[in-house]
Amino acid sequence: MSGIPPTEHVETEEKNYLQEGHTIASWLLTKDHKRIAVLYLISVSFFFFIGSIAAMLIRLELTSPRGTLITSETYNKAFTAHGVVMIFFFLIVAIPAVFGNFLIPLMIGARDLAFPRLNLLSWYFYMAGGMMFLVAMMTGGVDTGWTFYTPMSSIYSNGQVTLTLVAAFITGFSSIFTGINFIATIHKMRAPGMTWWRLPLYVWSHYATSVIIILGTPVIAITLLLVVFERVAKIGIFSPELGGDPVLFQHMFWFYSHPAVYIMVLPGMGVISELMGCFSRNKVFGYQFVAMSSMGIAALGFVVWGHHMFVSSQSMYQGIVFSFLSFLVAIPSAIKVFNWSLTMYKGSVWLASPMIYALGFIGLFTVGGLTGLYLASAGTDVHVTGTYFVVAHFHYVMVGGTLLAFLGALHFWWPKMFGRMYPEGVAKWNAMLVFVGFNLTFLPQFVVGYLGMPRRYHYYYFAPEFQVYHVMSTLGASVLAVSLLVPGAYLTWSLKNGPKAPANPWGAKGLEWEAAASPPIKHNFAGIPVVMGDVYDYDAEAEELAYRGLPPREESK
């Protein structure tokens, strides 16, 4: 994609966005999408840390069939905190609010998002929700699991359920604001020449995500609010004593929460499309199919929620219909996986650290997605639902998928965000360690789940044969923990000590690389770029080099 002004103009003398004021207020009151993205990066890392501590607590406790580290009550609070933090305060937010915020205006050639104030407000809502949840955790915790099933959450559970629900409610608004902002921005603020079919796939996936957000989030917001009312005022919508129906809650919850899993994975898929294109030096294979498959996932994602309820007293026919639809939603994902792989065809594959994360994503998401088929098939779900098989499935798609995409994005756009390079050698080896640690952690969980180990179980002394797999899993989690602490260390180190990054260290195509400095200036571009070439137009350059018999351009360093 060629942008005007051309690359030479990129290195301006203007101050970059990080230098525009150093006061705390200049950060906390900023309307610059890039600074808000940095605020989000810091906050989601913090919440990831909290969620991880809970995860390690769970893993340590499960090494013995009758763990003595914590009581059952604390255990329940630990996995609830883990699930709630990881989903509502880390994964749903991570890629859209950090990289989406940072990159969408840069990628489409705009100076900022459409509603900068709303953007800042969304961060405050997010933080308010997050802090409320921390308070809830410290003043008693919650033990309902992240799914908040009624009547347990509305009547029986004691603890800070109300506060937690309100926290999730508020965070929902933060999501909605971001979604509205992205939709308006992508529709109306593209640079001249940036047609829909020239949009980077990353932007497409965020568009699909935003559609899901604005259609789904209000539903969960109201649902959680109704549970709060039921809990506080004893009005009955979901509890049988009061005439309500607990299964209705499940319908409403999953109506949002299934699409929400695509809120979690679609932005990650967008990242992978970018990475595969750049590091294969090739246009993403089947660009239009990949773009449309995002929209397909968004649409189909809304009609499969019942696959979480095959054994919860919905009628048999409902079960069959939902099973059928769940298989359909697998097709767009299949399209993506094959197209990503084929992007390397006739390309020039560069195994840099972001690329290793991308390849890891493809492998692990494939396994995670295919194990989703066991669950989508109504008959096979019956035995494994509510077991560690499900736990393994969703960690494969969420950790092996989205978390790896997040790490890949972090490595890929780090130079753009902070203008520094990190030690590539360490990063590369660490990426492989993540892959190994991850598989060691979650592969055994498939087996133990199939053997019948129910999830959310503190003790399993009545089935000691499960132990060996739990020990393996904890071992893996420790490797994983190390491999996740290392990037934290070298990335922080690079902020001060890393070599300065050029505007386009990877030789990537895209406005954010070709028309903006690293880090970009406050208004992103010296002048609004005009897009004239095709998206991911790596061929032109490669052909030229080949014609002249020259080796490919040596990027970076």
Partner: protein, 332 residues
Amino acid sequence: MNFPVQPEQASNFAVQYDTLFFIITALTVLFTGLVFALCLGLIIKYKRGNGKPEDRRNPMHHNIIIELTSSGVSLVLGMVIFVWGAKMYIEMRQPPKNAMEIFVIGKRWMWHAQHDNGVRENNELHVPVGTPVKLTMISQDVIHSFYIPQFRVQFMVVPGRYTQMWFTPTKPGRFNLFCAMHCGTQHSEMGGYVYALEPAEFSKWKENGGNRFKPKPSIPALAGKQLFEDFMCSSCHGEKDGKRAPSLNGLVGRKRDFTDGSSMVADMDYIRQSLLAPDAKIVKGYRQMMQPYNFTEEQIIELIEYIKTLGSPVGPMATNPAATTVATGATR
């Protein structure tokens, strides 16, 4: 150390289930292998470097044939699994007409089963091999899930409506019974075992009142012991003060401290109240967990008599050593 990879196959669904399960597994391995091989091959072929220039003549950036075949093949394979799985699901959801019905009640945190002749059991389920068994289930509080891994069956137990599941045990043995839906503090301990018995043995068991209902001993302390066992009091009250509930050993005459700050010396009235209205006085260090039991006065006296003997070296059996046959039935 051994690495079990498959739960026992003990019901009519098990073999059928595992067949489909392993077919999907084969598919998973196949596709994962395919994607890995594809990536690996392309990486090796097109790895950058060695100074060789990129050759981009005749690039291929889309290919409708590839798109359509890959999604078409996925769709067809997916549909095969769907139909197969749905067939099994339909079978699982429709109990045969002649099935033997057992009622199951779930409550935090125990399972309670009632057989048609009045035999009741807690945290256990006895079923005959070879006969279809239909469970009609309901919950008294939150949602639970009745799960027997070796039978490959599970269904939720919901308050306010009946749910059903069925299976035909195919081999005798003791199998796990789990609650697979998070239901609170002791969710992981809500369960026990399912005993599949040979038909003859099963009818004997059932006739015998579930092995446990023996003629009521005339001596109150012994009758109390039987009640104590039937109602599973020992699932909470043990030899020592436990996590769940205080020990009842030597209760009468002991000073009790309560959560509201008061205290008293335990006497018969106190025990009676503890049975009928346990929430009236909560022992310090514990929470209200015990349900009120509506025993008859006669039963209460028997229970008190038994509780009096608890912890004493003599024990209730001393009175009548002949009556020591105790119910079997392993509990956790």
